[in-house]
């Protein structure tokens, strides 16, 4: 019987998505694990893998189709021995596709590995999702191999199995630790398929270094997503950058006063301790409200004008990055923002954030001031249109009215998506931010 390939759900709440690209055409043979298509939502792009072996008899939804409902039949697979033509001819109409909903377990299970995002990378589930409600793609591995992989932080799917029928056993994971026995091209990321120019191959790169002079650390899912999303963002988004020096002398003083006035809790600790970054989040959120034209997302069909200011904040975690989102930051007090940040940063490090806590957002803040960075530019985190790169606050000599003065200056650089925000508009947003951060009292208005 021909097998229906259904529109997968990227998350439990997803109802429809775009069929971005077909990587196989009618008549192509596929085997389990082959990537056959790419599916997009506003949040992520995901690969659809074949679960069964066979021949693509018919593609029912052409690539580029937007808003394909979850569980619609998108293609028909003829299994071995079946006549491809008749399997395709007998392709079910839409209503025939009343299959049980795509297993919500798949996206949920994918979440821990797929959580990552960068200052410029929106989250995207990296794990394969079943293209039909049948059994999900299974990776065979021994219990010990799984435990070792977890301990070493190695992505098992990247390890070449040497056990019976390719089962990943302990020695494979041990070998992978030192860079041996990794799959030659483990699950090429979606972005790679679309890349117009291929860089040097892994082999060519490795040949440049003496054998034994390096350790090859296998990528985990987070690293792959970071690489994939950043590449797409930097390549496809026409970035431009606006830098401004903000005098935060008053902010520093205000922060000290506010923190000093913090009431003590039961155990004698202050109820809050606000950071400069907490004010930056608040200021950016308010600035977007003042310049609503800059609180937007580019889509091919239309410009999405966001109502709230959801600020993603880049948090560095071991071996990667994640961007928890402060929702409606413009409506929250700085102390609430501060508390939320502390909580989410801690859970981010423990990799315990829920997808809805790091997906979405209308802008981002990336602060490297604590590392002594004066100024830098960040890569936009799609589908957002802006990201604010925040440098270190430091005392600098400034010239005012013909006199040299000392002021605490913090340089910020806003990266903008030129498709959505023109230069003047971007500059307006920076000016609004600067006005707020230099006059923190305005944030309480």
């Amino acid at each position: 019987m021909p097998i229906n390939i259904l529109m997968p759900a990227l998350s439990p709440t997803m109802e429809k998505g775009n069929l971005a690209k077909w990587l196989k055409k009618e008549g192509d043979k596929v085997k389990s694990g082959d990537v056959i298509a790419e599916i997009e939502t506003d949040k992520a792009t995901m690969e659809v893998e074949a679960v069964d072996e066979g021949t693509i008899a018919r593609i029912l939804v052409p690539e580029g189709t937007a808003d394909v409902p979850v569980n619609d039949v998108i293609a028909v697979l003829a299994t071995e021995g079946e006549d491809v033509k008749s399997a395709g001819a007998g392709a079910p109409a839409k209503e025939a596709a009343k299959a049980p909903p795509a297993p919500s377990a798949a996206p949920a299970a994918a979440a821990p590995a797929a959580a990552p995002t960068t200052p410029a990378a929106a989250p995207a589930p990296a794990a394969p999702v079943a293209s039909s409600p049948a059994s999900p793609h299974r990776l065979f591995s021994s219990p010990l191999a799984r435990r070792l992989a977890k301990d070493f932080g190695i992505d098992l799917s990247a390890v070449q199995g040497s056990g019976p029928h390719g089962r990943v056993v302990a020695r494979d994971v041990e070998a992978a630790k030192s860079g041996k026995g990794l799959k030659p091209a483990a699950a090429p990321p979606a972005a790679a398929a679309a890349a117009p120019i291929a860089g040097p191959s892994d082999q060519q790169i490795r040949a440049l270094f003496a054998e034994g002079s390096y350790e090859a650390v296998p990528h985990d899912g987070m690293r792959r997503v970071i690489a994939q999303r950043l590449t797409v963002a930097k390549r496809d988004i026409p970035h431009y950058y606006l830098t401004s020096d903000c005098d935060i002398t008053r902010l520093v003083a205000a922060r000290e006063d506010i923190n000093a006035a913090a009431p003590k809790t039961g155990d004698g600790k202050p109820a809050y301790k606000l950071s400069v970054n907490d004010f930056v989040i608040k200021a950016l959120a308010l600035a977007l409200q003042r310049v609503p034209d800059a609180n937007v997302t580019w889509t091919e069909g239309a410009m999405l004008r966001h109502k709230g200011s959801d600020v993603s904040v880049a948090v560095s975690i071991p071996s990667g990055l994640i961007t928890p989102v402060i929702r409606n930051a413009h409506l929250k007090s700085v102390s609430v923002i501060s508390a939320e940040m502390k909580d989410m940063a801690a859970r981010a490090r423990a990799r315990k954030l829920k997808p809805e806590e790091y997906q979405g957002g209308t802008t981002s803040v990336s602060n490297l001031g604590m590392y002594g960075i004066k100024d830098f530019t960040a890569v936009i985190n799609p589908p957002q249109s802006t990201i604010l790169a925040v440098g270190m606050g430091e005392e600098r000599a400034v010239v005012r009215h013909g006199k040299i003065e000392i002021a605490t200056i913090m340089s910020v650089t806003l990266s903008c998506d030129h498709r959505a925000i023109d230069g003047a508009l971007g500059a307006e947003l920076v000016a609004a931010f600067r006005a707020l951060i230099e006059n923190p009292i305005m944030m309480v208005v």
């Binding site: 021994s142 219990p143 010990l144 191999a145 435990r147 070792l148 301990d151 040497s162 056990g163 019976p164 056993v169 302990a170």
Partner: protein
């Protein structure tokens, strides 16, 4: 004229050789096996199998002597030594015939005689004095694309302890005694020595075991060996460890042995018979290996993980290819070797996962690392133990003396070793062997349901104990 050209010729029809031959035939290779004396080799004819038959007689005799422990009566229990031996020989004969049948069934040519490899691809077989089975090919020249040496091993001979087959026995003579000796000295406390000690003791002999190392069953875990030693001594077996037999004075129908405990104390004991069980050495002679330049080391052919020797086209498996010299290791090596010849790219054997069994009473079985070895390797370990006294089935059987011990890697939960002493443990060990082969951790073992009431429940209990969760003790 008979066909003399084969894809694979295997020299030796022991458990390694004949299993390799069957596997080769299954894979469609034209196969022949060369044997000079017994189809089935030592294992079937003079080793594993006939000793198990003898030990079974001893075991039943032991139970009959203890019938009243079970509420039964059996008076005037005795045995007929000749009949015991006869039964053992009958068992061997039956299996020996079985191998002949298997060769026929798989269309494997049997070449009767002694083989010498002339060159890769070519061998000469000389007639043997033993009577050839029906349908076997005889002496002559044979061609084989692949030659597998599976010639096994023979008893090691130590200077001064040379077996004379009359007073000083090897396992060959010990297996077919005309009568049970009144007193016996067993030199060496490996599996062979301990099994004979156990057999002859049960049959009433006064048995002394001398071991040069500080522990009997030297390859076993020290705790298990100590447990076994206590049990054997309780049965009346005298055990001297760290002791050497320096001299054997042969009398008319007895031997006076001089024992040296290494601290300058010597003593002499007089025994009717001596069994030399000081290990086995590979049969590498007479095959023409030196001329061919086949690399050997300490009496064994040096091979890679697929049985390949240093000379292309020549392979070795089993005892002749090095320790551990065990039938089941030989069988598996044979299969791997033949599959590699066929180009199937089999997995080399992990020698750590080869179990070892000793069929004395109580039995001993083990796989993997001993506690001492694991510590030597610098591993952080967790040890679990479970005694037979905590197992319902063991108590019902009247076999409440025994111990199951497991060793885990503390960090990864990898099962590193399992060691057992007690009733039927040789039938239990494979539970751990399977687990180790599948690389299970403690978690899977704890999640496995074991049937009740069985001795196998102790497999799980020992694991639980390693993690502080033991139930029935």
């Amino acid at each position: 004229m008979a066909d003399t050209s084969f894809d694979v010729v295997i020299i030796g029809s022991g458990p390694g050789g004949y299993v390799a031959a069957i596997r080769a035939a299954q894979l469609g290779l034209k196969t022949a096996i060369v044997e000079k004396q017994f189809l089935g080799g030592i294992c079937l004819n003079w080793g594993c199998i006939p000793t198990k038959a003898l030990l079974r007689s001893a075991e039943i005799y032991h139970y009959m002597q203890h019938a009243k422990d079970y509420g039964l009566s059996a008076d005037n229990v005795s045995f007929d030594a000749k009949a015991v031996v006869q039964r053992s020989r009958g068992v061997s004969k039956r299996l020996n015939d079985g191998v002949g049948f298997l060769m026929k069934k798989n269309k494997i040519a049997v070449i009767w005689g002694e083989a010498t490899i002339e060159a890769p691809g070519r061998l000469t077989v000389k007639a043997s004095s033993a009577e050839a089975p029906k349908g076997a090919l005889g002496a002559g020249s044979y061609q084989a694309k692949h030659i597998v040496i599976a010639t096994g091993a023979r008893p090691r001979v130590l200077p001064g302890l040379e077996p004379d087959k009359k007073l000083i026995w090897t396992y060959f003579e010990a297996m077919v005694p005309e009568r049970m000796p009144k007193s016996l000295l067993v030199v060496g406390s490996g599996a062979i020595g301990i099994e004979f000690a156990s057999f002859f003791r049960t049959m009433g002999a006064d048995v002394t075991v001398v071991e040069v190392l500080p522990q009997i069953l030297p390859v076993e875990d020290a705790e298990i060996a100590a447990f076994a030693r206590k049990a054997l001594e309780k049965q009346g077996i005298k055990i001297r460890v760290a002791t050497k037999v320096t001299k054997l004075d042969k009398k008319a129908d007895s031997v006076v042995a001089t024992l040296d405990d290494g601290k300058g104390k010597t003593e002499t004991i007089e025994v009717e018979r001596v069994i030399s069980a000081v290990g086995v050495v590979g049969n590498i002679e007479g095959l023409g290996l030196e001329k061919l330049g086949v690399k050997t080391d300490r009496g064994c052919v040096v091979i890679d993980g697929h049985g390949r020797s240093s000379v292309p086209g020549i392979y070795a498996i089993g005892d002749v290819a090095g320790p551990p010299m065990l039938a089941h290791k030989a069988e598996h090596e044979g299969v791997i070797c033949v599959e590699a010849i066929k180009g199937l790219n089999p997995h080399p054997m992990d020698k750590r996962l080869i179990p070892g069994c000793t069929y004395c009473h109580p039995q001993i079985a083990s796989v993997g690392l001993t506690e001492a070895r694991a510590k030597e390797e610098g591993r952080d370990i967790r040890v679990g133990r479970f005694p037979f006294v905590g197992n319902g089935k063991a108590i019902a059987l009247g076999e409440d003396q025994g111990l199951v011990k497991v060793i885990f890697d503390k960090k990864t939960g990898q099962l590193l070793g399992a060691h057992m002493v007690g009733a039927e443990v040789t039938e239990l060990i494979q539970g751990y062997v399977v687990a180790m082969n599948l690389e299970t951790t403690e978690e899977e073992l704890m999640h496995t349901v074991f049937p009740h009431p069985t001795l196998s429940e102790m497999i799980k209990e020992a694991v639980l104990d390693a993690y502080g969760r033991v139930l029935n003790i």
